[in-house]
């Protein structure tokens, strides 16, 4: 009880301090606020992005060009954050060695449609839906340049398709499709793809993640299209890692690190 009182007081103080600063904020939607138009005397970053990003990168979706190119270094480490989260969860939960018996990943029967009737409905639905989900996920990854989407969103959707299989049937059914060894590999390869785009630029004598210089390697006729293609490349890398770690976290949490049965 006392701790709740303290917590309430702490939250109230924090909230009131935050609110106190609100009076200094620029008006909501103000086109001339510092974040939108910069501060007099210094060049505005936002205006630069709005005016120049298409010229620089030939990517219509401004968010993608900021995320994957201008601030690509941040995005790479966001992907590393996800990878690190996955590794931390394996390190804590995964039970390795002293397993009673090797679990066979062979399909027992067609357990999707066998058994009670509710499973038939769920199983059939999942069978129909999963390919569509995966196709949509690939679309989200590939279309991140032009519409909302990209590696993180597509990766989550793709990871969810495996989780649905695990929920509808059992964990082994999903692990047959994406085994432990393979999801770790997939996660590593994802970050490796991202870092490779950066290191290749270094090899060609420019700074890390300077995609423009990759033009000859990507068979494009200018640094702008090279940036556009490289962004697709790194988004694919992000999607790999996110897919793998999403599913891996589910698999480890639902089976308490045993990677058997699951929920």
């Amino acid at each position: 009880m006392l701790s709740k009182v303290f917590a309430t007081i702490a939250v109230a103080i924090t909230g009131s301090i935050l609110l106190y600063g609100v009076s200094d904020f620029p008006a909501f939607g103000d086109p001339h606020s510092p974040a939108n138009a910069g501060v007099p005397g210094s060049e505005s970053v936002s205006l630069y992005f709005i005016e120049e990003s298409y010229k620089d990168t030939k990517v219509p979706n401004l968010v993608t060009s900021v995320l994957a190119d201008y601030r690509g270094y941040d995005t790479m480490f966001e992907t590393v954050v996800i990878f690190a989260a996955g590794m931390a969860i394996f390190a804590i939960l995964r039970v390795v060695g002293n397993k009673e018996e090797e679990v066979s990943r062979e399909p027992v029967e067609n357990s999707f449609t066998n058994g009670d009737h509710s499973r038939i409905i769920v199983g059939t639905t999942v069978r129909i839906v999963v390919p569509v989900i995966q196709l949509f996920a690939l679309y989200v990854v590939a279309h991140g340049h032009h519409s909302p989407g990209g590696g993180f969103q597509g990766g989550v959707i793709l990871g969810a398709s495996f989780i649905i299989i695990a929920l509808a049937e059992n964990l082994n059914a999903a692990l047959r499709r994406l085994s432990e060894q393979n999801y770790v590999r997939l996660a590593v390869v994802g970050i490796f793809i991202y870092a490779l785009f950066g290191v290749m630029a270094q090899v060609l004598g420019r700074n890390f993640l300077d995609y423009g210089v990759l033009a000859p390697l990507l068979f494009t006729d200018g640094p702008e299209m090279a940036r556009s293609h490289s962004m697709l490349g790194v988004e694919v890398g992000v999607a790999f890692t996110v897919t793998a770690i999403m599913f891996a976290i589910y698999a480890n949490l639902s089976s308490r690190g045993q990677l058997e049965k699951g929920l």
Binding site: S33, V39, V45, F192, L209
Partner: protein
Amino acid sequence: MVDQIPALLVLAPLFGALLVALIGHRDHRVCFPIALASLSVTLIGAIAAAQHVFTNGPMDYFVGGWEKPLGIGIHLRIDALNALLLIAIATVAVLVSFFSIRRIGEKNAEKTHYFYILFLLLCLGLFGITIAGDAFNLFVLVEVSSLTSYGLIAMGSSRRGTYAAFNYLLMGTVGASFYLLGVGYLYLTTGSLNMQEIHAILGTNPEIAESKAVTIAFIFILVGIWIKMAFFPLYGWLPNAYSYCPSSTACFLAPLMTKVSVYVMIRVMISVFGLEWVFVSLGWSNLIVVLAVIAILAGSVLALAQREIKKMLCYLIVAEVGYMVGGAWLADEELWGLTGSLYHILADAAMTLCLFLAAGIFVKSFGARDINDLDGMFKKAPWVMAAFAIGALSMIGVPPTCGFFSKFYLIRGGIDAGHWEFVAALLISSLVNAVLFFRIFEIAFFGNKPAEGHDHGHDDHEAEEITIVRNEAPPAWSGLFPLLTSAVIIVLIGIFNGPIVALIRTFFEELPTVTLLHSTLTLLP
């Protein structure tokens, strides 16, 4: 080639971690060579970067080549403020990787590769934080280092470690969110995330610099970092997290996590808000020095109450954080306090490394967790105890160890600034440390007195925690080598304090604000 070093510092551990993740599970023996190789690359890189910085001036690195206008891309920066810290991080990482060879292999051997993956990613995070020149990028790398450290702390077999890691996770998340909120407020008012750019905007637009939103941004950033560094009232997560985690984890986290957070605080004070704004416009330095004094005294008293060696060292860290925060906020004209803080970051990293390595060896080889278990340790393990003594003397502040000189510079700053309570707190803390460590020396040298002897038992430990081997094996070279090296480093940092401080102070010469600060401060009564 030299200009690519900032990227190299984060890429080498990253590729190391990826490689371990790919092949480490097949044969755990490949993990250590991979880790050592990638960390050695970072150590060489850090030394080369420092040499470059001190001969040619700061290194700016624009990721993706997005240089102009400043702030559209990510800016990495190595200058006199962080060049030495980079070497310290790399050195500690290399030494701890040696220490981890056998420690991890013995228990939970099948998880060795996870340890190395998280360890390398943590190094990556710390390097990234240190070289970040962008306020948001710093947050991303704080996330990398925090997540990996939660994992590393929870990895041990003790259930208390898992609980401590969860506690740390909650506190750390609050700290990181506060930092992010502060950065959000700053972006809202200045429209930039680049540290240099924010600094320039605040310097040229007084109406923005004096707005409430910027002050609140600073408060949130500061409190967020304080939680991360375990500054006194916010230290609750630290003692359990660092004393119940595996030894090699403690040996890496204890010397570096809090120190890197102190560095971040100083970086934010100098490079984002500017010393003039922080000391003159805000004018809170007196208040914060008093908080630091409380931190020092509380940390020392709490350390005195501990019987477990590692717990005691953890509370000493709380006191040492008070040294550094207090020193950074002394606001004396010659900036000796800030110099002392920056020097103490290096000194404390070496001392904490040495003491935690020794404590790890005590637990591992002799099963000694409590102070009373150190009975006759000088005879049983003379080398370990000698190194422990050097670390302890440095904590107390005996010349020629580095602890003496950092106290010397801090006290000089305290006297210049007229903060006598800070000077007194430093001396009291030295005295308490002397009492603490001479109690240990007495037990280790002369043995326990039978009266207070073996009645304490291990009742307060859960049964599962006593996983230690009781067969008093002589400590392995993999433990002794980093321990003795760290003891030598303590003495070296102490002997070469003059050149090190001169290097640190080259940074202040580049600061335009310092002259401003002097003129404004002298106007004050």
